[in-house]
């Protein structure tokens, strides 16, 4: 070894030691010295240091030692190249696609809600969960799919674990989809209720997308960049034009809806969108929303670095005791359920075993694309928590507390929030509403409005000042609503196909995706299912988020547990049982979190936490005749809905156990040599592609 090599290695050791010490030191300092105000930059730097160390060392260990990525082994993109699905693609392009596919509203909304506990619990879980759990899941499932010709998680589960796990995976995907679509539709509903500006802008995205769709089909087929550019200009015009609509009383009345009518409109829209041809609405809007999403995330990062805001939220709020107004329940398990995306998100395993593995040129790139993209998503979650925590806590709680808890009278609501130790006045809230161009900012639950205020706060701090607050706020609302509606379209459609596939087993014609009666029936079933939960959430006096978001988190962690079970099985079959802790540890943690969460959501004695406690509380009220006659029917529905939510939670909890025991049986059989381990990998073909 030459002198220069030694000194370079020594330099590397020094740099990485410094990064590790900085990361650990800052996190330790933030965690221990809680009384002093902290600049958001410290969270950003600490997270970045942990990500760098995680990527440099842990992902390398997984890549080389645990799964053994092999650049000499040809990937499906090379072996099965067909010019369409299987195409060797530049790794940065694949990284972009993969990141755009995995990063949705989850890492923005979850951390915003979890900010009610203070910035510390969310930050620690986002960073640790991603480095040790989420990134590992995404990476190993991507690796597994690359070795299996790009097969989906369901197929891999069926082949490697068994048919029970396979069907459980399919079933959990459909049910998580329904809950996911319901809860994000609720987020949009809450963001747009009583807001003519926001509603107008979002409504305009429909004709804008259709114009783009017509252009892309008939005028210049496939010229996505120019169509998106035109769409973007029109979109900005719609954001600015929304202000004129809001200021004109006739037009404003046309675009002002209460939550109930908005929910019904969104359900009707969802059904129409799921049966309309994709080229007309879904595809062009997907392009537009992806560009806006990536651009806004990038701008937000720049904005935070430029403004370097102070965190106004304490490290730990008083609501670590489980009595928070945004969602009820203690840090354990609810912080870990509220933040799924950004830390560990089971849904990613569907993307990691979807399009991405068919594009990767070399196995070694799975590390950057699988582990690296999830680090980026985790960073988005950190930015979301920063955006929530730069708001004055009183304002944060006034925006995010449902009227069912703080009441709908501004004076009473602000008095209650101030009594928690987070001072805020009706004048503060009116000032904020005026600044962002809304009538009222009270009880805008769901996370999107407070995130938009946070983003507007950061953007206007570096660009335009307060005069631009309203534009930035509505830009942020548009950005969230735009890509949530895209997921609503795409999810309803995919759900429809899955359902048709399932129904086709019972009666062949139902499985035909071109047969109109079957398309309408399955479309109506899927949209009806999420629509029911959405409507239930809108009618819930506690705001709906309190019941639906934890359900979504539990469902998402359930899917992550499935994916990590599959990954563990594969590691054991690869004769790497001594490294199985890499997937086993996060899996066990998620099982404990999801099972505790499910149990508490069902049986907790506090009616705000436990569905059954709330149901029996309400039915006691009904029995005692304390409910006004005109409220009886609504209360009966609430009782039924709470029992339904408890039943859904029970199904999730049982599914986790089914998959766990099915996998455990397989692991024990292999480890005790009662069964020979058969991996279902594709054959080894040596790559013909040149080294890069």
């Amino acid at each position: 070894m030459g002198i220069s090599k030694v000194s370079r290695r020594l330099g590397g050791v020094l740099i990485w030691s410094a990064i590790s010490i900085a990361g650990a030191g800052i996190l330790g300092a933030i965690a221990l010295r809680r009384d002093e105000p902290v600049n958001a930059m410290w969270l950003i730097i600490a997270a970045a240091c942990v990500y760098l160390v995680g990527y440099r060392f842990y992902s390398r260990f997984i890549a080389l030692t645990v799964v053994g990525l092999d650049d000499r082994r040809a990937t499906p993109a090379e072996r099965l190249e067909d010019g369409r699905d299987f195409v060797p693609t530049n790794k940065w392009v694949v990284l972009g696609h993969h990141f755009a596919a995995i990063a949705g509203p989850g890492p923005l909304v979850g951390p915003t809600l979890a900010a009610q506990l203070g910035y510390l619990p969310g930050t620690l879980w986002i960073v640790a969960g991603a480095v040790l759990g989420g990134c590992v899941q995404d990476f190993i499932i991507l690796f597994a799919s690359i070795r299996r010709d790009g097969k989906s998680l369901g197929q891999i589960a069926k082949e490697e674990v068994g048919p029970v796990a396979g069907y459980a995976a399919l079933f959990s995907v459909i049910s998580i989809l329904v809950i996911l679509l319901a809860v994000i539709a609720l987020v949009v509903t809450n963001a747009l209720k009583g807001s003519p500006w926001g509603t107008f802008t979002l409504a305009m995205t429909i004709p804008i997308a259709m114009l783009m769709g017509i252009y892309l089909r008939f005028v210049r087929p496939g010229k996505v960049l120019e169509a998106s550019l035109m769409g973007f200009v029109l979109l900005m015009a719609a954001v600015v034009g929304g202000q004129l609509v809001a200021q004109n009383s006739t037009l404003a009345a046309l675009f002002t809806f209460d939550a109930r009518s908005l929910a019904l409109l969104i359900i009707g829209y969802g059904f129409a969108a799921s049966v309309l041809p994709v080229w007309l609405l879904l595809a062009p809007r997907d392009y537009l929303s992806t560009f806006v999403k990536l651009g806004t995330i990038f701008l937000l990062a720049i904005g935070i670095l430029a403004v370097r805001p102070m965190l106004a939220m304490p490290a730990l709020s008083r609501f670590v005791d489980g009595t928070g107004p945004v969602f009820a329940g203690k840090i354990f398990p609810f912080a870990f359920i509220t933040i799924a995306c950004g830390a560990v998100s089971g849904f990613h395993s569907l993307i990691s075993s979807g399009t991405t593995p068919k594009l990767i040129t070399k196995e070694g790139q799975a590390r950057l694309i699988g582990y690296g993209s999830m680090l980026m998503e985790s960073f988005v979650a950190i930015m979301a928590i920063v955006a929530a925590c730069v708001l004055q806590p009183g304002i944060y709680f006034a925006i995010n507390s449902p009227a069912g808890i703080v009441g709908s009278d501004p004076a009473a609501a602000t008095a209650m929030i101030s009594s928690w130790g987070y001072p805020v006045t009706p004048a503060d809230m009116q000032g904020l509403a005026d600044l962002v161009g809304e009538k009222s900012m009270f009880a805008r639950t769901g996370g999107a409005p407070s995130l938009a205020v946070g983003i507007a706060h950061i953007f206007s701090g570096s660009l335009g000042g307060q005069r631009w607050m309203a534009i930035w706020y509505h830009f942020a609302i548009m950005f969230e609503a735009l890509f949530i509606l895209t997921i609503l379209d795409a999810g309803s459609r995919v759900g429809r196909f899955m359902l048709q596939d399932l129904m086709g087993h019972f009666w062949k014609p139902l499985g035909r995706t071109g047969w109109y009666p079957s398309v309408m029936l399955s479309g109506a079933l899927i949209v009806g299912a999420w629509g029911y939960f959405l409507y239930q959430g809108v009618m819930d006096p506690l705001g709906g988020i309190n019941s639906l978001w934890p359900l979504f988190g539990i469902a998402n962690q359930l899917l992550a547990a499935v994916a990590l079970c599959v990954a563990t099985t594969i590691l054991i079959k690869m004769n790497k049982a001594r490294f199985a802790w890499v997937t086993l540890a996060p899996m066990l943690w998620l099982v404990v979190v999801a099972q505790t969460g499910s149990f508490q959501k069902m049986f907790h004695p506090d009616p705000r936490v436990g569905f059954l406690a709330e149901a029996s509380h309400l039915s006691d009220l009904l029995a005692s005749g304390k409910i006004a006659p005109e409220q009886v029917a609504a209360t009966q529905r609430l009782v039924f809905n709470n029992r339904l939510d408890a039943a859904v939670t029970a199904v999730f909890a049982v599914l986790v156990l089914v998959i766990l025991f099915d996998s455990l049986r397989e692991w024990l059989a292999i480890l005790s040599r009662r069964k020979t381990a058969t991996l279902h990998e594709a054959e080894y073909v040596v790559t013909a592609l040149a080294e890069d």
């Binding site: 190249e81 067909d82 010019g83 369409r84 699905d85 195409v87 693609t89 530049n90 940065w92 392009v93 972009g96 696609h97 596919a101 995995i102 990063a103 949705g104 509203p105 989850g106 989906s152 996911l180 994000i184 892309l216 089909r217 008939f218 087929p221 496939g222 010229k223 996505v224 960049l225 998106s228 994709v278 080229w279 879904l282 595809a283 997907d286 392009y287 799924a340 995306c341 998100s345 849904f347 990613h348 569907l350 993307i351 979807g354 399009t355 890509f483 895209t486 997921i487 795409a490 999810g491 459609r493 995919v494 196909f497 995706t513 979504f552 998402n556």
Partner: protein
Amino acid sequence: MRRISKWWDILKQAVGEGDYERYSAHLRRKHPGRSVPGPAEFYMNRLKEKYSRPTRCC
């Protein structure tokens, strides 16, 4: 200048604008007998396939 055009190409590839050229070239090279679909037909088929599986995540 060459740098910029390289990045522009990557961007175009990233949004899928080169997909049709690539596919038609692939067909002509590997399956010379097969008929090549037009750009609009190709674009429509691609969209149909793309949105029949999970493409966007939470």
